[in-house]
């Protein structure tokens, strides 16, 4: 099963390039354009990543997270492995940069650890719901969101639950 996902990436790249060649398009020029366009992100993304990294690092370095984790572990031993990913789950709907910063911390401790795999799965199956909704709605001046927030968050809960169950079953 895991081999399938390894084949996926190179296959996608070759499919894209071959398709462009068949259609007689200049794939090389397109690639340069796209990559160049992406560079603008550096200036855009760097400040918010720095800000979130500061908050997340302070949470970790102050020992606050570690202490909460240890007290949780003594109270509920079963919660053990979820303690590490709780901050990421809490940040996920609000800020992509913050949840990525937590994920970065988790995976820095062990890129092949179960926690890193589970966190990656959850990151892949959810989105920054609150942030996206406020960005899109405010851009067109909408203040009455109907049930969008409620349903978006419920869908995230489903994504997290499925992510946890699947990683427990297959990635442990």
């Amino acid at each position: 099963m895991n081999k399938v996902s390894l084949v996926f990436i190179p296959l996608l790249v070759i499919l894209t390039i071959v398709y462009a060649a068949i259609k007689k398009k200049n794939a090389y020029a397109s690639f340069l354009n796209g990559t160049k366009e992406g560079l603008g992100l550096f200036v855009e993304v760097f400040p918010s990543v720095m800000a979130m990294l500061l908050a997340v690092t302070m949470l970790e370095a102050s020992g606050l997270i570690t202490d909460i984790k240890t007290s949780l572990k003594t109270l509920f031993p079963a919660i053990n492995m979820f303690a590490d990913i709780t901050p990421m789950v809490l940040f996920r709907p609000i800020s992509g940069s913050a949840s990525i910063a937590v994920l970065d911390n988790i995976c820095a401790a062990g890129a092949d650890s179960f926690t890193c795999k589970m966190a990656s799965t959850i990151q892949g199956s959810t989105d920054t719901t609150i942030y996206v909704l406020s960005l899109y709605f405010t851009s067109v001046g909408i203040t009455k969101w109907k049930h969008a927030l409620k349903v978006g968050l419920m869908a995230d809960v489903v994504g997290i639950t499925v992510g946890v169950i699947l990683s427990l079953l297959f990635l442990k």
């Binding site: 908050a55 970065d104 709605f137 349903v151 499925v162």
Partner: protein, 195 residues
């Protein structure tokens, strides 16, 4: 965001100082610039690469093909949306989201919102049903290739940085489907209450 940010930092630092973790605090603050640069490099340069690949797909018309393939699905999800322009923006927004390139998806997403507002039957400030469905599709949306997560895992030397993506896809699919079903449920409920 401002309040949350300040709150987290102030509470953490006070807690750290009270419990005597001076070393850890000072050292991690000093290490921040380098750590930030590394993380942003991983994020941005992987995004650059995939944006390049996606640009080939745009220019060769592959994205349009994908968007066309999504058409029957879109009919099923938003049967009342006949506006061609809005549909075009929505499909390319979904296509970009599939690559985990949320930020690259934003321009077409905002255009879709603008178009949806123009054809909205609701008043100025109220979201139309199509807007709600579109945003649920967007936030619960299917991410086929979580490019940023793979890049981070790769940078820390994971043996197989892609091993989780199949489970991520299943998770995102189920979350998307349940989001759309819940959307229908609440819309019908609101309709009933109106009568």
């Amino acid at each position: 965001m401002n309040k949350i940010w300040i709150g987290i930092i102030v509470i953490s630092i006070i807690y750290g100082l009270v419990t005597g973790r001076f070393d850890a605090l000072a050292n991690s603050i000093l290490a921040l610039p380098e750590k930030g640069l590394n993380l942003v490099c991983t994020l941005v340069f992987s995004a650059c690469f995939w944006n390049g690949i996606m640009m080939i797909m745009y220019d060769s018309g592959l994205i349009d093909k994908v968007a066309k393939a999504l058409n029957p699905l879109l009919n099923l999800i938003m049967p009342n949306l006949k506006d061609e322009e809005a549909r075009k923006y929505i499909s390319s927004n979904i296509a970009a989201n599939m690559f985990g390139l949320g930020f690259a998806a934003t321009p077409s997403g905002l255009k879709a919102m603008k178009r949806l507002k123009m054809i909205s039957p609701e008043d100025e400030k109220t979201a139309s049903d199509e807007m709600v469905t579109f945003l649920i599709l967007n936030t619960a949306g299917v991410t086929l290739i979580p490019t940023t997560v793979m890049a981070i895992r790769h940078s820390y030397g994971a043996v197989n940085p892609t091993d989780f993506i199949i489970y991520g896809i299943i998770g995102t699919l189920l979350s998307c489907v349940s989001g759309l079903l819940l959307d229908r449920y609440y819309r019908k409920k609101a309709l009933k209450n109106k009568r």
